[in-house]
Symmetry: C2
Subunit: 325 residues, 2 copies
Amino acid sequence: MAVSRTSDPASLFAAARTGDRVALPRLLSLVERGGDGARAVAEIAYRSPQQAYTVGITGAPGAGKSTLTDQLINRARSRGLDGSDQVAVLAIDPSSPFSGGAILGDRVRMQNHALDEKVFIRSMATRGHLGGLAVAVPDAVRVLSAVGVPVVLLETVGVGQQEVAVAAATDTTIVVVNPGWGDAIQANKAGLLEIADLFVINKADRPGARETRRDLELMLDLTQLGDWRPPIVDTVASSGDGVDELWTVIGDHRAHLVANGDLVRFRRERLAREFHQILLARVEHQLDTLLAADRFAGVVADMSAGALDPYEAADRLLTGLLPDS
Amino acid sequence: MAVSRTSDPASLFAAARTGDRVALPRLLSLVERGGDGARAVAEIAYRSPQQAYTVGITGAPGAGKSTLTDQLINRARSRGLDGSDQVAVLAIDPSSPFSGGAILGDRVRMQNHALDEKVFIRSMATRGHLGGLAVAVPDAVRVLSAVGVPVVLLETVGVGQQEVAVAAATDTTIVVVNPGWGDAIQANKAGLLEIADLFVINKADRPGARETRRDLELMLDLTQLGDWRPPIVDTVASSGDGVDELWTVIGDHRAHLVANGDLVRFRRERLAREFHQILLARVEHQLDTLLAADRFAGVVADMSAGALDPYEAADRLLTGLLPDS
Protein backbone atom coordinates (compact mmCIF):
# COMPACT_ATOMS: atom_id res chain seq x y z
CA MET A 1 0.00 0.00 0.00
CA ALA A 2 1.37 3.40 -0.92
CA VAL A 3 2.17 5.68 2.00
CA SER A 4 -0.04 8.29 0.44
CA ARG A 5 -3.02 6.04 1.07
CA THR A 6 -2.29 4.47 4.43
CA SER A 7 -3.56 5.79 7.71
CA ASP A 8 -1.82 3.12 9.76
CA PRO A 9 0.26 4.99 12.33
CA ALA A 10 3.21 2.57 12.30
CA SER A 11 3.56 2.85 8.51
CA LEU A 12 3.15 6.60 8.67
CA PHE A 13 5.90 6.88 11.28
CA ALA A 14 8.23 4.71 9.22
CA ALA A 15 7.59 6.84 6.15
CA ALA A 16 7.90 10.14 8.03
CA ARG A 17 11.26 9.08 9.44
CA THR A 18 12.59 8.70 5.92
CA GLY A 19 11.46 12.23 5.08
CA ASP A 20 8.12 11.47 3.44
CA ARG A 21 6.34 14.85 3.18
CA VAL A 22 2.86 13.38 3.24
CA ALA A 23 3.19 11.07 6.21
CA LEU A 24 4.02 13.68 8.85
CA PRO A 25 1.02 15.97 8.22
CA ARG A 26 -1.17 12.91 8.26
CA LEU A 27 0.15 11.87 11.66
CA LEU A 28 -0.55 15.35 13.00
CA SER A 29 -4.05 15.32 11.54
CA LEU A 30 -4.68 12.10 13.43
CA VAL A 31 -3.49 13.82 16.61
CA GLU A 32 -5.75 16.83 16.02
CA ARG A 33 -8.82 14.76 15.35
CA GLY A 34 -8.42 12.91 18.63
CA GLY A 35 -10.08 9.62 19.40
CA ASP A 36 -8.62 6.21 18.62
CA GLY A 37 -6.39 7.51 15.83
CA ALA A 38 -4.71 10.03 18.11
CA ARG A 39 -4.26 7.36 20.69
CA ALA A 40 -2.63 4.94 18.30
CA VAL A 41 -0.22 7.68 17.19
CA ALA A 42 0.58 8.61 20.80
CA GLU A 43 1.33 5.00 21.67
CA ILE A 44 4.16 4.98 19.17
CA ALA A 45 5.34 8.55 19.72
CA TYR A 46 5.68 8.22 23.49
CA ARG A 47 7.73 5.06 23.21
CA SER A 48 10.19 6.68 20.80
CA PRO A 49 13.24 8.60 22.06
CA GLN A 50 12.43 12.26 22.64
CA GLN A 51 15.11 14.30 20.94
CA ALA A 52 13.46 17.52 19.81
CA TYR A 53 14.46 20.69 21.59
CA THR A 54 11.34 22.86 21.98
CA VAL A 55 11.21 26.65 21.92
CA GLY A 56 7.97 28.45 22.85
CA ILE A 57 7.31 31.94 21.47
CA THR A 58 4.51 33.92 23.06
CA GLY A 59 3.44 37.51 23.62
CA ALA A 60 0.56 39.86 22.86
CA PRO A 61 -1.06 39.89 19.42
CA GLY A 62 0.86 42.25 17.15
CA ALA A 63 4.16 41.89 19.03
CA GLY A 64 5.77 40.39 15.93
CA LYS A 65 5.89 36.73 16.94
CA SER A 66 5.28 35.39 13.45
CA THR A 67 8.01 37.53 11.91
CA LEU A 68 10.39 36.51 14.67
CA THR A 69 9.53 32.86 14.17
CA ASP A 70 10.18 33.31 10.48
CA GLN A 71 13.67 34.62 11.32
CA LEU A 72 14.32 31.82 13.79
CA ILE A 73 13.52 29.31 11.09
CA ASN A 74 16.36 30.82 9.05
CA ARG A 75 18.78 30.54 12.00
CA ALA A 76 17.75 26.96 12.73
CA ARG A 77 18.39 26.13 9.07
CA SER A 78 21.85 27.69 9.00
CA ARG A 79 23.05 27.17 12.58
CA GLY A 80 20.97 24.30 14.01
CA LEU A 81 21.38 23.66 17.73
CA ASP A 82 22.66 20.14 17.11
CA GLY A 83 24.43 20.61 13.85
CA SER A 84 21.14 19.58 12.26
CA ASP A 85 19.48 21.95 9.83
CA GLN A 86 15.89 20.76 10.15
CA VAL A 87 13.17 22.65 11.99
CA ALA A 88 9.44 22.41 12.59
CA VAL A 89 6.99 25.14 13.60
CA LEU A 90 3.68 24.59 15.34
CA ALA A 91 1.52 27.71 15.22
CA ILE A 92 -1.08 27.43 17.94
CA ASP A 93 -4.46 28.83 16.97
CA PRO A 94 -6.77 27.97 19.77
CA SER A 95 -10.40 27.85 18.84
CA SER A 96 -12.34 30.69 20.30
CA PRO A 97 -14.11 29.45 23.40
CA PHE A 98 -17.43 30.23 21.77
CA SER A 99 -17.65 29.29 18.14
CA GLY A 100 -14.17 28.42 17.09
CA GLY A 101 -13.21 31.28 14.79
CA ALA A 102 -9.48 31.82 14.38
CA ILE A 103 -7.86 34.13 11.90
CA LEU A 104 -4.92 32.62 10.13
CA GLY A 105 -3.93 35.61 8.05
CA ASP A 106 -0.55 36.35 9.54
CA ARG A 107 0.57 32.76 9.25
CA VAL A 108 0.50 32.99 5.51
CA ARG A 109 3.82 34.78 5.67
CA MET A 110 5.52 31.67 6.91
CA GLN A 111 4.70 30.06 3.62
CA ASN A 112 8.01 31.63 2.52
CA HIS A 113 9.43 28.34 3.59
CA ALA A 114 6.80 26.21 1.92
CA LEU A 115 9.20 24.82 -0.67
CA ASP A 116 12.02 24.15 1.77
CA GLU A 117 11.82 20.48 2.63
CA LYS A 118 13.86 20.89 5.79
CA VAL A 119 11.19 23.18 7.22
CA PHE A 120 7.88 21.83 8.42
CA ILE A 121 5.17 24.34 9.36
CA ARG A 122 1.82 23.47 10.77
CA SER A 123 -1.00 25.58 12.14
CA MET A 124 -2.69 23.53 14.82
CA ALA A 125 -6.35 23.42 15.63
CA THR A 126 -7.60 20.95 18.17
CA ARG A 127 -11.28 20.63 17.61
CA GLY A 128 -12.39 17.20 18.66
CA HIS A 129 -9.29 16.42 20.67
CA LEU A 130 -10.22 15.43 24.20
CA GLY A 131 -8.19 17.71 26.43
CA GLY A 132 -7.78 20.41 23.77
CA LEU A 133 -4.54 22.28 23.29
CA ALA A 134 -3.08 21.16 26.61
CA VAL A 135 -2.99 17.58 25.40
CA ALA A 136 -2.94 17.84 21.61
CA VAL A 137 0.11 20.11 21.40
CA PRO A 138 2.41 17.92 23.53
CA ASP A 139 1.21 14.93 21.53
CA ALA A 140 2.10 16.74 18.30
CA VAL A 141 5.53 17.68 19.66
CA ARG A 142 6.12 14.05 20.57
CA VAL A 143 5.28 13.04 17.02
CA LEU A 144 7.71 15.56 15.54
CA SER A 145 10.34 14.39 17.98
CA ALA A 146 9.73 10.75 17.24
CA VAL A 147 10.28 11.25 13.51
CA GLY A 148 13.61 12.95 14.19
CA VAL A 149 12.92 16.69 14.06
CA PRO A 150 15.68 18.26 16.20
CA VAL A 151 14.11 21.69 16.87
CA VAL A 152 10.42 22.56 17.28
CA LEU A 153 9.35 26.21 17.44
CA LEU A 154 5.96 26.61 19.05
CA GLU A 155 4.32 29.95 18.41
CA THR A 156 1.07 31.15 19.97
CA VAL A 157 -1.34 33.62 18.43
CA GLY A 158 -2.21 35.37 21.66
CA VAL A 159 -1.77 35.22 25.41
CA GLY A 160 -4.88 33.35 26.44
CA GLN A 161 -4.37 31.18 29.46
CA GLN A 162 -4.31 27.98 27.44
CA GLU A 163 -1.85 29.39 24.95
CA VAL A 164 0.42 30.67 27.70
CA ALA A 165 0.39 27.27 29.34
CA VAL A 166 1.26 25.58 26.06
CA ALA A 167 4.08 28.04 25.33
CA ALA A 168 5.41 27.53 28.84
CA ALA A 169 5.53 23.77 28.34
CA THR A 170 8.68 24.02 26.22
CA ASP A 171 12.39 23.75 26.95
CA THR A 172 13.04 27.45 26.25
CA THR A 173 10.16 29.90 26.50
CA ILE A 174 10.54 33.27 24.79
CA VAL A 175 8.25 36.13 25.75
CA VAL A 176 8.04 38.87 23.11
CA VAL A 177 7.16 42.42 24.13
CA ASN A 178 7.33 45.73 22.29
CA PRO A 179 8.77 49.09 23.31
CA GLY A 180 6.39 51.40 25.04
CA TRP A 181 5.31 52.18 28.50
CA GLY A 182 3.14 49.47 29.94
CA ASP A 183 3.98 46.57 27.65
CA ALA A 184 6.12 44.90 30.29
CA ILE A 185 3.37 45.44 32.83
CA GLN A 186 0.78 43.88 30.52
CA ALA A 187 3.08 40.91 30.01
CA ASN A 188 3.24 40.50 33.76
CA LYS A 189 -0.54 40.71 34.02
CA ALA A 190 -0.87 37.96 31.45
CA GLY A 191 1.32 35.69 33.57
CA LEU A 192 4.19 35.90 31.09
CA LEU A 193 6.89 37.07 33.45
CA GLU A 194 6.97 33.82 35.33
CA ILE A 195 7.19 31.59 32.30
CA ALA A 196 9.91 33.50 30.43
CA ASP A 197 13.31 31.92 30.01
CA LEU A 198 14.22 34.92 27.95
CA PHE A 199 12.60 38.14 26.84
CA VAL A 200 12.68 39.69 23.41
CA ILE A 201 11.98 43.38 22.97
CA ASN A 202 10.93 43.28 19.35
CA LYS A 203 10.59 46.43 17.20
CA ALA A 204 13.43 47.69 19.39
CA ASP A 205 14.14 50.48 16.92
CA ARG A 206 11.00 52.23 18.11
CA PRO A 207 10.93 54.73 20.97
CA GLY A 208 10.64 53.30 24.44
CA ALA A 209 12.84 50.21 24.12
CA ARG A 210 15.13 51.32 26.92
CA GLU A 211 12.22 52.00 29.25
CA THR A 212 10.72 48.61 28.50
CA ARG A 213 14.05 46.95 29.26
CA ARG A 214 14.24 48.85 32.53
CA ASP A 215 10.69 47.77 33.44
CA LEU A 216 11.53 44.15 32.72
CA GLU A 217 14.77 44.29 34.72
CA LEU A 218 12.89 45.83 37.63
CA MET A 219 10.24 43.14 37.53
CA LEU A 220 12.92 40.45 37.38
CA ASP A 221 14.60 42.07 40.38
CA LEU A 222 11.33 41.74 42.25
CA THR A 223 10.83 38.10 41.28
CA GLN A 224 12.12 34.97 42.93
CA LEU A 225 14.42 33.60 40.28
CA GLY A 226 16.22 30.29 40.17
CA ASP A 227 19.80 30.07 38.96
CA TRP A 228 18.87 31.41 35.51
CA ARG A 229 18.06 35.08 35.13
CA PRO A 230 16.12 35.56 31.90
CA PRO A 231 18.23 37.60 29.47
CA ILE A 232 16.59 40.39 27.48
CA VAL A 233 17.38 40.59 23.78
CA ASP A 234 16.55 43.53 21.50
CA THR A 235 15.40 42.56 18.02
CA VAL A 236 13.94 44.10 14.90
CA ALA A 237 12.45 40.95 13.45
CA SER A 238 11.43 42.62 10.20
CA SER A 239 15.08 43.35 9.34
CA GLY A 240 16.63 40.45 11.25
CA ASP A 241 18.57 42.70 13.64
CA GLY A 242 19.35 40.96 16.90
CA VAL A 243 18.08 37.57 15.79
CA ASP A 244 21.59 36.06 15.66
CA GLU A 245 22.08 37.10 19.26
CA LEU A 246 18.68 35.67 20.16
CA TRP A 247 19.59 32.34 18.61
CA THR A 248 22.85 32.34 20.57
CA VAL A 249 21.02 33.05 23.83
CA ILE A 250 18.60 30.19 23.13
CA GLY A 251 21.64 27.95 22.80
CA ASP A 252 23.04 29.34 26.08
CA HIS A 253 19.82 28.53 27.88
CA ARG A 254 19.82 25.04 26.49
CA ALA A 255 23.42 24.50 27.59
CA HIS A 256 22.48 25.73 31.06
CA LEU A 257 19.55 23.29 31.29
CA VAL A 258 21.69 20.40 30.11
CA ALA A 259 24.57 21.24 32.45
CA ASN A 260 22.57 21.30 35.67
CA GLY A 261 20.21 18.45 34.86
CA ASP A 262 17.13 20.67 34.60
CA LEU A 263 16.37 19.56 31.07
CA VAL A 264 15.64 16.01 32.19
CA ARG A 265 13.89 17.10 35.38
CA PHE A 266 11.69 19.74 33.73
CA ARG A 267 10.69 17.33 30.97
CA ARG A 268 9.63 14.77 33.52
CA GLU A 269 7.57 17.38 35.38
CA ARG A 270 5.90 18.42 32.14
CA LEU A 271 5.07 14.83 31.37
CA ALA A 272 3.39 14.50 34.77
CA ARG A 273 1.29 17.62 34.12
CA GLU A 274 0.38 16.37 30.69
CA PHE A 275 -0.71 13.06 32.13
CA HIS A 276 -2.89 14.96 34.59
CA GLN A 277 -4.53 16.75 31.64
CA ILE A 278 -5.19 13.47 29.89
CA LEU A 279 -6.79 12.01 32.98
CA LEU A 280 -8.88 15.11 33.48
CA ALA A 281 -10.07 15.10 29.88
CA ARG A 282 -11.04 11.48 30.17
CA VAL A 283 -13.04 12.07 33.35
CA GLU A 284 -14.67 15.21 31.91
CA HIS A 285 -15.80 13.21 28.91
CA GLN A 286 -17.49 10.68 31.15
CA LEU A 287 -19.10 13.50 33.07
CA ASP A 288 -20.52 14.97 29.85
CA THR A 289 -22.12 11.66 29.06
CA LEU A 290 -23.64 11.63 32.50
CA LEU A 291 -25.03 15.14 32.10
CA ALA A 292 -26.61 14.36 28.77
CA ALA A 293 -28.98 12.06 30.59
CA ASP A 294 -32.57 13.12 31.20
CA ARG A 295 -32.21 13.63 34.89
CA PHE A 296 -29.82 16.52 34.28
CA ALA A 297 -32.58 18.64 32.72
CA GLY A 298 -34.77 18.04 35.74
CA VAL A 299 -32.02 19.11 38.09
CA VAL A 300 -31.49 22.37 36.21
CA ALA A 301 -35.21 23.09 36.28
CA ASP A 302 -35.18 22.63 40.06
CA MET A 303 -32.22 24.98 40.37
CA SER A 304 -33.87 27.62 38.17
CA ALA A 305 -36.91 27.49 40.40
CA GLY A 306 -34.73 28.15 43.44
CA ALA A 307 -35.63 24.77 44.94
CA LEU A 308 -32.14 23.36 44.78
CA ASP A 309 -28.65 24.82 44.87
CA PRO A 310 -26.01 23.47 42.48
CA TYR A 311 -23.79 22.15 45.26
CA GLU A 312 -26.51 19.94 46.63
CA ALA A 313 -27.42 18.97 43.08
CA ALA A 314 -23.78 17.97 42.47
CA ASP A 315 -23.90 15.81 45.57
CA ARG A 316 -26.99 14.07 44.29
CA LEU A 317 -25.62 13.40 40.83
CA LEU A 318 -22.15 12.34 41.90
CA THR A 319 -23.01 10.26 44.93
CA GLY A 320 -21.94 6.75 44.25
CA LEU A 321 -20.34 7.74 40.98
CA LEU A 322 -16.84 8.38 42.25
CA PRO A 323 -15.31 6.51 45.13
CA ASP A 324 -13.29 8.65 47.56
CA SER A 325 -10.17 7.20 45.94
CA MET B 1 -23.85 38.36 68.66
CA ALA B 2 -22.87 41.48 66.76
CA VAL B 3 -22.94 41.16 62.99
CA SER B 4 -19.36 42.35 62.91
CA ARG B 5 -18.32 39.16 64.64
CA THR B 6 -20.54 36.52 63.10
CA SER B 7 -19.55 34.33 60.21
CA ASP B 8 -22.86 32.51 60.11
CA PRO B 9 -24.14 32.92 56.53
CA ALA B 10 -27.81 33.27 57.46
CA SER B 11 -27.07 36.11 59.90
CA LEU B 12 -24.75 37.73 57.39
CA PHE B 13 -27.45 37.63 54.69
CA ALA B 14 -30.01 39.11 57.06
CA ALA B 15 -27.62 41.92 57.98
CA ALA B 16 -26.54 42.56 54.39
CA ARG B 17 -30.18 42.88 53.30
CA THR B 18 -30.64 45.74 55.75
CA GLY B 19 -27.62 47.53 54.28
CA ASP B 20 -24.94 46.43 56.75
CA ARG B 21 -21.62 47.39 55.12
CA VAL B 22 -19.60 44.71 56.86
CA ALA B 23 -21.81 41.72 56.18
CA LEU B 24 -21.68 41.76 52.37
CA PRO B 25 -17.87 41.77 52.03
CA ARG B 26 -17.76 38.98 54.54
CA LEU B 27 -20.18 36.88 52.50
CA LEU B 28 -18.06 37.43 49.41
CA SER B 29 -14.89 36.50 51.29
CA LEU B 30 -16.55 33.24 52.22
CA VAL B 31 -17.32 32.66 48.54
CA GLU B 32 -13.73 33.41 47.50
CA ARG B 33 -12.21 31.12 50.08
CA GLY B 34 -14.26 28.18 48.88
CA GLY B 35 -14.91 25.07 50.91
CA ASP B 36 -17.76 24.60 53.36
CA GLY B 37 -18.21 28.33 53.98
CA ALA B 38 -18.72 29.04 50.28
CA ARG B 39 -21.13 26.20 50.08
CA ALA B 40 -23.20 27.40 53.01
CA VAL B 41 -23.40 30.84 51.39
CA ALA B 42 -24.39 29.36 48.03
CA GLU B 43 -27.15 27.31 49.62
CA ILE B 44 -28.88 30.48 50.75
CA ALA B 45 -28.02 32.61 47.71
CA TYR B 46 -29.35 30.12 45.16
CA ARG B 47 -32.64 29.77 46.99
CA SER B 48 -33.21 33.53 47.03
CA PRO B 49 -34.94 35.33 44.16
CA GLN B 50 -32.45 36.44 41.51
CA GLN B 51 -33.13 40.06 40.72
CA ALA B 52 -29.78 41.59 39.79
CA TYR B 53 -29.28 42.60 36.19
CA THR B 54 -25.69 41.80 35.22
CA VAL B 55 -23.53 43.73 32.77
CA GLY B 56 -20.15 42.31 31.69
CA ILE B 57 -17.42 44.69 30.51
CA THR B 58 -14.46 43.15 28.72
CA GLY B 59 -11.77 44.11 26.23
CA ALA B 60 -8.01 44.30 25.90
CA PRO B 61 -5.88 45.71 28.71
CA GLY B 62 -5.64 49.46 28.32
CA ALA B 63 -8.93 49.81 26.44
CA GLY B 64 -10.33 51.94 29.25
CA LYS B 65 -12.64 49.43 30.91
CA SER B 66 -12.06 50.73 34.43
CA THR B 67 -12.77 54.34 33.47
CA LEU B 68 -15.88 53.24 31.61
CA THR B 69 -17.03 51.20 34.59
CA ASP B 70 -16.47 54.23 36.76
CA GLN B 71 -18.78 56.23 34.48
CA LEU B 72 -21.39 53.49 34.41
CA ILE B 73 -21.47 53.54 38.20
CA ASN B 74 -22.48 57.21 37.98
CA ARG B 75 -25.25 56.41 35.49
CA ALA B 76 -26.53 53.50 37.58
CA ARG B 77 -26.66 55.83 40.59
CA SER B 78 -28.58 58.56 38.79
CA ARG B 79 -30.65 56.57 36.29
CA GLY B 80 -30.87 53.01 37.68
CA LEU B 81 -32.40 50.42 35.36
CA ASP B 82 -35.18 49.67 37.84
CA GLY B 83 -35.60 53.02 39.45
CA SER B 84 -33.14 51.79 42.02
CA ASP B 85 -29.94 53.74 42.57
CA GLN B 86 -27.74 50.97 43.98
CA VAL B 87 -24.96 49.27 42.04
CA ALA B 88 -22.20 46.75 42.64
CA VAL B 89 -19.00 46.20 40.69
CA LEU B 90 -17.02 42.98 40.60
CA ALA B 91 -13.55 43.52 39.14
CA ILE B 92 -12.24 40.17 37.99
CA ASP B 93 -8.51 39.74 38.54
CA PRO B 94 -7.76 36.17 37.66
CA SER B 95 -4.68 34.79 39.24
CA SER B 96 -1.94 34.21 36.78
CA PRO B 97 -1.91 30.53 35.85
CA PHE B 98 1.58 30.24 37.26
CA SER B 99 2.11 32.08 40.52
CA GLY B 100 -0.93 34.22 40.99
CA GLY B 101 0.44 37.71 40.49
CA ALA B 102 -2.18 40.31 39.58
CA ILE B 103 -1.65 44.04 39.43
CA LEU B 104 -4.45 46.02 40.98
CA GLY B 105 -3.16 49.50 40.25
CA ASP B 106 -5.87 50.73 37.93
CA ARG B 107 -8.61 49.66 40.29
CA VAL B 108 -7.56 52.27 42.80
CA ARG B 109 -9.39 54.84 40.74
CA MET B 110 -12.71 53.24 41.56
CA GLN B 111 -12.13 54.17 45.16
CA ASN B 112 -13.73 57.49 44.10
CA HIS B 113 -16.90 55.82 45.19
CA ALA B 114 -15.54 54.42 48.42
CA LEU B 115 -17.65 56.69 50.60
CA ASP B 116 -20.86 56.23 48.63
CA GLU B 117 -22.86 53.61 50.48
CA LYS B 118 -25.03 52.83 47.48
CA VAL B 119 -21.97 51.65 45.56
CA PHE B 120 -20.31 48.38 46.37
CA ILE B 121 -16.98 47.59 44.68
CA ARG B 122 -15.06 44.39 45.04
CA SER B 123 -11.95 43.08 43.34
CA MET B 124 -12.31 39.34 43.18
CA ALA B 125 -9.61 36.76 43.58
CA THR B 126 -10.51 33.11 43.70
CA ARG B 127 -7.59 31.31 45.20
CA GLY B 128 -8.81 28.26 47.01
CA HIS B 129 -12.19 28.18 45.32
CA LEU B 130 -12.76 24.84 43.66
CA GLY B 131 -13.69 25.66 40.09
CA GLY B 132 -11.96 29.04 40.10
CA LEU B 133 -13.46 32.07 38.40
CA ALA B 134 -16.02 30.08 36.45
CA VAL B 135 -17.75 29.05 39.67
CA ALA B 136 -16.78 31.74 42.17
CA VAL B 137 -17.96 34.70 40.09
CA PRO B 138 -21.49 33.37 39.48
CA ASP B 139 -21.67 32.51 43.17
CA ALA B 140 -20.67 36.07 44.06
CA VAL B 141 -23.25 37.50 41.64
CA ARG B 142 -25.91 35.33 43.28
CA VAL B 143 -24.94 36.70 46.67
CA LEU B 144 -25.21 40.31 45.47
CA SER B 145 -28.53 39.50 43.88
CA ALA B 146 -29.83 37.76 46.99
CA VAL B 147 -29.13 40.79 49.17
CA GLY B 148 -31.07 43.03 46.79
CA VAL B 149 -28.46 44.68 44.56
CA PRO B 150 -30.33 45.57 41.35
CA VAL B 151 -27.37 46.07 38.98
CA VAL B 152 -24.02 44.26 38.97
CA LEU B 153 -21.22 45.47 36.69
CA LEU B 154 -18.65 42.79 36.08
CA GLU B 155 -15.36 44.07 34.70
CA THR B 156 -12.45 41.91 33.57
CA VAL B 157 -8.81 42.94 33.62
CA GLY B 158 -7.89 41.23 30.37
CA VAL B 159 -9.20 38.94 27.70
CA GLY B 160 -7.95 35.60 28.94
CA GLN B 161 -10.22 32.73 28.09
CA GLN B 162 -11.54 32.42 31.63
CA GLU B 163 -12.19 36.13 31.89
CA VAL B 164 -13.96 36.20 28.54
CA ALA B 165 -16.15 33.31 29.64
CA VAL B 166 -17.02 35.08 32.87
CA ALA B 167 -17.79 38.37 31.10
CA ALA B 168 -19.97 36.49 28.63
CA ALA B 169 -21.99 34.93 31.44
CA THR B 170 -23.91 38.15 32.04
CA ASP B 171 -27.22 39.52 30.83
CA THR B 172 -25.60 42.26 28.73
CA THR B 173 -21.99 41.82 27.61
CA ILE B 174 -20.09 44.92 26.52
CA VAL B 175 -16.91 44.55 24.47
CA VAL B 176 -14.65 47.60 24.60
CA VAL B 177 -12.26 48.32 21.73
CA ASN B 178 -10.19 51.37 20.82
CA PRO B 179 -9.78 53.21 17.54
CA GLY B 180 -6.98 51.99 15.35
CA TRP B 181 -6.46 49.49 12.65
CA GLY B 182 -6.54 45.97 13.90
CA ASP B 183 -8.25 46.45 17.25
CA ALA B 184 -11.50 44.99 15.99
CA ILE B 185 -9.56 42.10 14.46
CA GLN B 186 -7.78 41.42 17.74
CA ALA B 187 -11.12 41.45 19.52
CA ASN B 188 -12.34 38.84 17.09
CA LYS B 189 -9.24 36.73 17.66
CA ALA B 190 -9.85 36.84 21.39
CA GLY B 191 -13.33 35.43 20.85
CA LEU B 192 -14.98 38.71 21.79
CA LEU B 193 -17.08 39.20 18.69
CA GLU B 194 -19.33 36.30 19.49
CA ILE B 195 -20.02 37.28 23.07
CA ALA B 196 -20.75 40.97 22.49
CA ASP B 197 -24.27 42.25 23.02
CA LEU B 198 -22.92 45.67 22.30
CA PHE B 199 -19.61 47.23 21.34
CA VAL B 200 -18.05 50.34 22.75
CA ILE B 201 -15.38 52.18 20.80
CA ASN B 202 -13.75 53.98 23.69
CA LYS B 203 -11.28 56.85 23.23
CA ALA B 204 -13.41 57.59 20.16
CA ASP B 205 -11.90 61.07 19.94
CA ARG B 206 -8.68 59.50 18.65
CA PRO B 207 -7.95 58.85 14.97
CA GLY B 208 -9.29 55.65 13.52
CA ALA B 209 -12.66 55.45 15.28
CA ARG B 210 -14.56 55.41 11.98
CA GLU B 211 -12.38 52.65 10.58
CA THR B 212 -12.83 50.57 13.70
CA ARG B 213 -16.58 50.98 13.47
CA ARG B 214 -16.47 49.92 9.84
CA ASP B 215 -14.39 46.85 10.74
CA LEU B 216 -16.86 45.88 13.44
CA GLU B 217 -19.85 46.38 11.16
CA LEU B 218 -18.18 44.24 8.53
CA MET B 219 -17.48 41.47 11.00
CA LEU B 220 -21.06 41.62 12.24
CA ASP B 221 -22.24 41.39 8.64
CA LEU B 222 -20.20 38.20 8.30
CA THR B 223 -21.53 36.68 11.51
CA GLN B 224 -24.63 34.65 12.08
CA LEU B 225 -26.63 36.91 14.35
CA GLY B 226 -29.85 36.23 16.21
CA ASP B 227 -32.59 38.85 16.36
CA TRP B 228 -30.31 41.33 18.14
CA ARG B 229 -27.60 43.06 16.17
CA PRO B 230 -25.01 44.42 18.63
CA PRO B 231 -25.07 48.23 18.51
CA ILE B 232 -21.77 50.12 18.46
CA VAL B 233 -21.44 53.09 20.79
CA ASP B 234 -18.65 55.69 20.67
CA THR B 235 -17.45 56.89 24.06
CA VAL B 236 -14.71 58.97 25.61
CA ALA B 237 -14.87 57.48 29.07
CA SER B 238 -12.39 59.94 30.53
CA SER B 239 -14.73 62.85 29.78
CA GLY B 240 -18.00 60.92 29.98
CA ASP B 241 -18.92 61.56 26.33
CA GLY B 242 -21.24 58.89 24.97
CA VAL B 243 -21.79 57.18 28.31
CA ASP B 244 -25.40 58.36 28.58
CA GLU B 245 -26.09 56.79 25.20
CA LEU B 246 -24.32 53.62 26.32
CA TRP B 247 -26.50 53.39 29.40
CA THR B 248 -29.58 53.85 27.23
CA VAL B 249 -28.47 51.08 24.87
CA ILE B 250 -27.88 48.75 27.83
CA GLY B 251 -31.48 49.45 28.85
CA ASP B 252 -32.62 48.74 25.25
CA HIS B 253 -30.86 45.39 25.27
CA ARG B 254 -32.42 44.50 28.57
CA ALA B 255 -35.87 45.43 27.30
CA HIS B 256 -35.27 43.26 24.24
CA LEU B 257 -34.27 40.26 26.38
CA VAL B 258 -37.28 40.69 28.62
CA ALA B 259 -39.71 41.14 25.73
CA ASN B 260 -38.81 37.96 23.88
CA GLY B 261 -38.26 35.72 26.88
CA ASP B 262 -34.51 35.41 26.31
CA LEU B 263 -33.65 36.74 29.75
CA VAL B 264 -35.24 33.76 31.47
CA ARG B 265 -33.99 31.28 28.88
CA PHE B 266 -30.39 32.56 28.83
CA ARG B 267 -30.24 32.59 32.62
CA ARG B 268 -31.35 29.00 32.75
CA GLU B 269 -28.71 28.01 30.18
CA ARG B 270 -26.05 29.81 32.20
CA LEU B 271 -27.13 28.00 35.31
CA ALA B 272 -26.75 24.68 33.51
CA ARG B 273 -23.23 25.61 32.41
CA GLU B 274 -22.36 26.73 35.89
CA PHE B 275 -23.59 23.46 37.30
CA HIS B 276 -21.39 21.66 34.81
CA GLN B 277 -18.41 23.64 36.11
CA ILE B 278 -19.23 22.75 39.69
CA LEU B 279 -19.47 19.07 38.82
CA LEU B 280 -16.21 19.22 36.91
CA ALA B 281 -14.41 20.97 39.77
CA ARG B 282 -15.64 18.36 42.18
CA VAL B 283 -14.46 15.49 40.00
CA GLU B 284 -11.13 17.19 39.32
CA HIS B 285 -10.58 17.53 43.05
CA GLN B 286 -11.10 13.82 43.53
CA LEU B 287 -8.73 13.16 40.67
CA ASP B 288 -6.04 15.28 42.33
CA THR B 289 -6.34 13.21 45.45
CA LEU B 290 -5.96 10.10 43.39
CA LEU B 291 -2.84 11.44 41.67
CA ALA B 292 -1.19 12.38 44.94
CA ALA B 293 -0.94 8.69 45.73
CA ASP B 294 2.40 6.93 45.44
CA ARG B 295 1.55 4.90 42.40
CA PHE B 296 1.27 8.10 40.34
CA ALA B 297 5.02 8.76 40.70
CA GLY B 298 5.77 5.25 39.49
CA VAL B 299 3.56 5.72 36.46
CA VAL B 300 5.33 8.96 35.50
CA ALA B 301 8.71 7.26 35.84
CA ASP B 302 7.55 4.54 33.47
CA MET B 303 6.35 7.16 31.00
CA SER B 304 9.61 9.09 31.18
CA ALA B 305 11.48 5.90 30.41
CA GLY B 306 9.36 5.41 27.30
CA ALA B 307 7.93 2.19 28.68
CA LEU B 308 4.37 3.45 28.91
CA ASP B 309 2.33 6.04 27.04
CA PRO B 310 0.01 8.33 29.02
CA TYR B 311 -3.14 7.00 27.40
CA GLU B 312 -2.46 3.48 28.53
CA ALA B 313 -1.41 4.85 31.91
CA ALA B 314 -4.74 6.69 32.15
CA ASP B 315 -6.55 3.44 31.42
CA ARG B 316 -4.69 1.73 34.22
CA LEU B 317 -5.34 4.44 36.79
CA LEU B 318 -8.98 5.05 35.91
CA THR B 319 -10.12 1.49 35.39
CA GLY B 320 -12.75 0.74 37.95
CA LEU B 321 -12.77 4.32 39.19
CA LEU B 322 -15.56 5.68 37.04
CA PRO B 323 -18.52 3.63 35.90
CA ASP B 324 -19.58 4.22 32.31
CA SER B 325 -22.54 6.17 33.70
